[in-house]
């Protein structure tokens, strides 16, 4: 058996006893504009930003509002701007921001409901607009015939794009959304791409048109901020590039389908 990890057993020296967080506070019913409030909390080496917020809420100020759920980077609820970069609060360590203070703000490019809580209604609409489901060719055999055959290699074609957890970090990082809020956006395009690359799908140009219907996709200049901030290693920038390419191909070739 391998020896227990030295990393695991080591007690980390404390670089500081406390750390400061500057958290955005905003209640539209009472405040004219958002403001920052600073909290000084006990510091532990293994604390993530979400732990810090939970500590503040339980021990200092029960009114601080933010979303969270799973604590393990899979539900995508706790997106927030940490020192200016969109991150998941549960996956970003305070130790990377020593000695602080750590600036915690709501994700940009969304209306704020309260404090760090954003309004995601527009995103939910964008998601369903790209027809995120397998479109059949109308010749589905009965269930008893079993599953579609799909080889591991065919799964690999789109697997990466299926990892999206709808955390909104890519929308917060997207320079196009900032100017053109109607842009369907990185996650939705990645989702469209996920279905277009799926060997079970027969959408042809259908889904592609819903994505390229608005001009905004052409404003994307492949800056790649969306892919850089993605906590799950999805590459929406690649999806956007591929979509532009397919779309151009479709215009040139009238019979052009989506290549798989």
């Amino acid at each position: 058996m391998a020896a227990p990890s030295q990393e695991l057993l080591r007690s980390n020296p404390l670089p500081a006893d406390t750390i400061q967080l500057s958290v955005t506070r905003y209640d539209p019913a009472q405040d004219a504009a958002p403001r920052q409030q600073t909290y000084e909390i006990p510091y532990r080496d293994d604390m993530v930003v979400l732990d810090a917020l939970n500590w503040i809420k339980t021990h200092m100020d029960g009114s601080v509002s933010y979303r969270w759920s799973c604590r393990m980077g899979i539900c995508g609820s706790c997106g927030m701007n940490v020192n200016g970069t969109p991150r998941l609060g549960c996956s970003v360590f305070l130790r990377d921001y020593l000695p602080g203070p750590v600036l915690v703000e709501p994700l940009p490019n969304f209306p704020v409901i309260r404090d760090l809580v954003i309004d995601m209604t527009s995103f939910m609409e964008k998601l369903s607009s790209v027809k995120p489901w397998v479109i059949s060719n109308g010749q589905e055999p009965a269930l008893a015939a079993g599953e579609h055959r799909q080889t591991p290699a065919q799964v690999e074609q789109y697997r990466q794009f299926s990892m999206c957890i709808n955390c909104m970090l890519c929308y917060a990082a997207c320079p196009v959304i900032a100017i053109e809020p109607h842009f369907v956006g990185p996650a939705a395009i990645a989702l469209a791409r996920r279905y277009d690359l799926d060997s079970r799908d027969h959408a042809g140009q259908d889904r592609l048109r819903t994505v390229t219907g608005s001009d905004a996709i052409w404003d994307c200049s492949f800056i790649g901020e969306c892919s850089a901030v993605c906590p799950k290693g999805v590459d929406p920038a690649k999806a956007i590039q591929q979509t532009k390419f397919e779309s151009t191909l479709g215009m040139l070739l009238p019979w052009g389908g989506v290549s798989k």
Binding site: M1, A2, P4, S5, E7, L8, D27, P28, A29, Q30, D45, D46, M47, K57, T58, G62, S63, V64, S65, S69, C70, R71, M72, G73, I74, C75, G76, S77, I113, R114, D115, V117, D119, M120, L127, S128, K131, P132, W133, V134, L143, G146, E147, H148, R149, T151, P152, Q154, V155, Y158, R159, S162, M163, C164, I165, N166, Y195, D198, R200, D201
Partner: protein, 584 residues
């Protein structure tokens, strides 16, 4: 503030796997469906499921059959399962998985392009359909994508139901509030489907998400429905133990399914002594108790657990089969699991107990009220097998959705909502806001978690359970004076919400302690040091919890329906052993 009124045919409470599958079924039956969920759509606790969904597809082991799956489930549940649910589940899981595949779910595949299946604890054959170790995310995503294009479905996100409303002994609606602005909503409905999940957050160390506060159990109980097997709470054997901030977070059973071994601090593969036959792939209750015993005997890991080691597999294999685990340990614990063992210990994971339902329909004992998924009880008996939850959601989500739709179709025009009930529920809802500086819900919540952790642990005994119950009742009294932790605003007020959560948690905790005291034997997840043996007479009994005439909580032992002879034969039949080929 006047409440907003909404009318629907089927009100689905909860948007995890069971709620979404139920909503799709009810809408496909032609009913208008409203789904309300406490979080945003797609964030429900189901999303955290890792290992897979159990279904006897027989894609990897041709020997597999519904009979084998049924027998495994009953034996795992130590025979107090609702056998009819176990039978339906074993027979229908394959169809529900294939359907999900048709809708577009991604699965790992065999070389032939079939859905791949991995081995898991106490399943005779490799049976878990999966995608890496993030199967829950895929299940949620596929159902969500299907839900949004099913005509007739409306989704109300971040809405919390506070009470069910009754008329002439039947459920006819619910009072809820919207978190975004605190407005009240009165739903009138012809049928209500509960799909709210479990109550793991009544413990301090849990794999459960923010959502799991037992809301549906509370709603059903308050409406007069019967709860069952509330003493049966599953400790998953392998949660993270270090660092403290991540204590309790799940380490998928898939690690052991893919060959991971457990060792104590002396390097001994201790499962040899607890289940020589199945070793690490024994049932969860057995493995959790084994780790517990090793720690108690002074053979635990540095932070009070055991070592889980998969380093004998190639780094490539590990990263492909267990990508989330690899990432999770690297990021959160600075441990590279391809090179070092993980440190793990039991964590509260699943509620086998919950609302008592009819197997075929998910009907509760209150007309018009249905339940499916973790909030319902019966399928898993005294111990759930890994992978049986995701298939449970699909099989019984659909069945309950169908039945609720059918029931709703038989109702005429909506019953009049009783004003007095709405007023009483509203008063209850608003109370914490009227005394913001009353007892802090955060403080009460953490005290409750301490009580459950300390007094209802893996091994229980009567004096400690009784002490726990007294403490819960004392907390209940203090909770009557609960505030919000200071804030009076209605918009996204987390303290207000926590106060409402706590009400559910206290009822779940009380039901747990009262039932655990009554079951004077050790069976599955319920282990008693004062009654260390399985008692055959208890195999015939389920404990039922119900609200008494004077509002007191009652517990009654009820004789369960005998297992038909032909199914008893299936359970006792011996299934041919599966010898896996090395699949690296």
């Amino acid at each position: 503030m006047t409440p907003e009124n909404t009318d629907t045919d089927v009100l689905v409470i909860g948007a995890g796997g069971a709620g979404m599958r139920g909503a799709i079924a009810a809408a496909q039956a032609g009913r208008r469906v409203t789904v309300v969920c406490k979080s945003l759509l797609g964030k429900a606790h189901t999303v955290m499921a890792e290992g897979g969904a159990a279904a006897a597809l027989a894609n990897v082991a041709g020997l597999d059959s519904w009979e084998a799956h049924f027998a495994d489930t009953m034996k795992g549940g130590k025979l107090i399962n609702n056998w009819r649910m176990a039978e339906l589940h074993a027979k229908e899981s394959p169809e529900r998985i294939l359907e999900l595949e048709r809708w577009g779910a991604v699965f790992d595949r065999t070389e032939d392009g079939l859905i791949h299946q991995r081995p898991f604890g106490a399943h005779t054959y490799p049976r878990l359909a999966h995608i890496g170790d993030r199967t829950g995310l895929e299940l949620i995503r596929s159902l969500q994508d299907a839900l949004v294009h099913t005509p007739g479905v409306e989704v109300h996100m971040e809405v919390t139901v506070v009470r069910l409303l009754l008329a002439a002994g039947r459920v006819v609606g619910a009072l809820a509030y919207a978190r975004a602005d605190g407005r009240q909503i009165v739903y009138s409905a012809r049928a209500v489907l509960l799909a709210t999940g479990g109550a793991g957050r009544i413990y301090r160390v849990t794999s459960n998400s923010w959502e799991c506060t037992g809301d549906g159990t509370m709603l059903a109980y308050e409406a007069g429905a019967r709860l069952r097997d509330c003493e049966m709470v599953q400790f998953h054997p392998t949660g993270m133990v270090w660092p403290p901030g991540v204590r309790g977070i799940l380490v998928t059973e898939g690690v052991r399914g893919e060959g991971g071994v457990l060792r104590n601090k002396d390097g001994e593969r201790f499962m040899e002594r607890y289940d020589h036959e199945r070793m690490e792939l024994s049932s969860r209750d057995v493995v959790a108790r084994a780790i517990n015993s090793e720690v108690a005997a002074g053979r635990g890991s540095p932070h009070g657990g055991a070592f889980l080691d998969i380093t004998h597999r190639s780094p490539d294999f590990i990263k492909r089969k267990l990508p989330s685990m690899y990432e999770q340990f690297l990021k959160l614990a600075k441990v590279d699991i391809t090179k070092e063992p993980m440190e793990v210990a039991p964590t509260i994971h699943y509620y086998m107990g919950g609302v008592d339902v009819e197997a075929e329909t998910g009907a509760t004992t209150v007309p018009g009220l249905y339940a499916a998924g973790e909030v319902a009880s019966g399928l898993h008996g005294a111990n759930r097998l890994g992978g049986n939850s995701l298939s449970d959601l699909l099989v019984f989500g659909k069945r309950a959705g169908d039945a609720a739709a059918e029931f709703a179709g038989r109702q005429g025009k909506p019953r009049r909502i009783d004003k007095a009930q709405v007023e009483a529920a509203t008063e209850f809802l608003m109370a914490p806001l009227t005394r913001p500086h009353g007892e802090s819900p955060y403080k009460l919540q953490s005290e409750l978690q301490e009580v459950c952790t300390q007094h209802a642990p893996i091994i229980r005994d009567e004096p400690s359970l009784r002490e726990g119950l007294e403490k819960v009742l004392a907390l209940k009294e203090r909770a009557a004076e609960m505030g919000t932790g200071g804030a009076t605003t209605r918009a996204f007020n987390p303290g207000w919400h926590s106060a409402l959560d706590l009400h559910s948690m206290l009822i779940n905790a009380e039901a747990l302690f009262r039932s655990a005291i009554e079951r004077k034997e050790s069976r599955g997840a319920h282990a008693r040091s004062d009654f260390p043996k399985l008692d055959p007479k208890w195999a015939q009994l389920n404990l039922m919890v119900q609200k008494g005439k004077n509002g007191e909580m009652t517990v009654t032992a009820t004789e369960n329906q005998p297992i038909p002879y032909e199914l008893t034969e299936v359970i006792t039949q011996s299934f041919q052993k599966y010898t896996p080929e090395e699949h690296e």
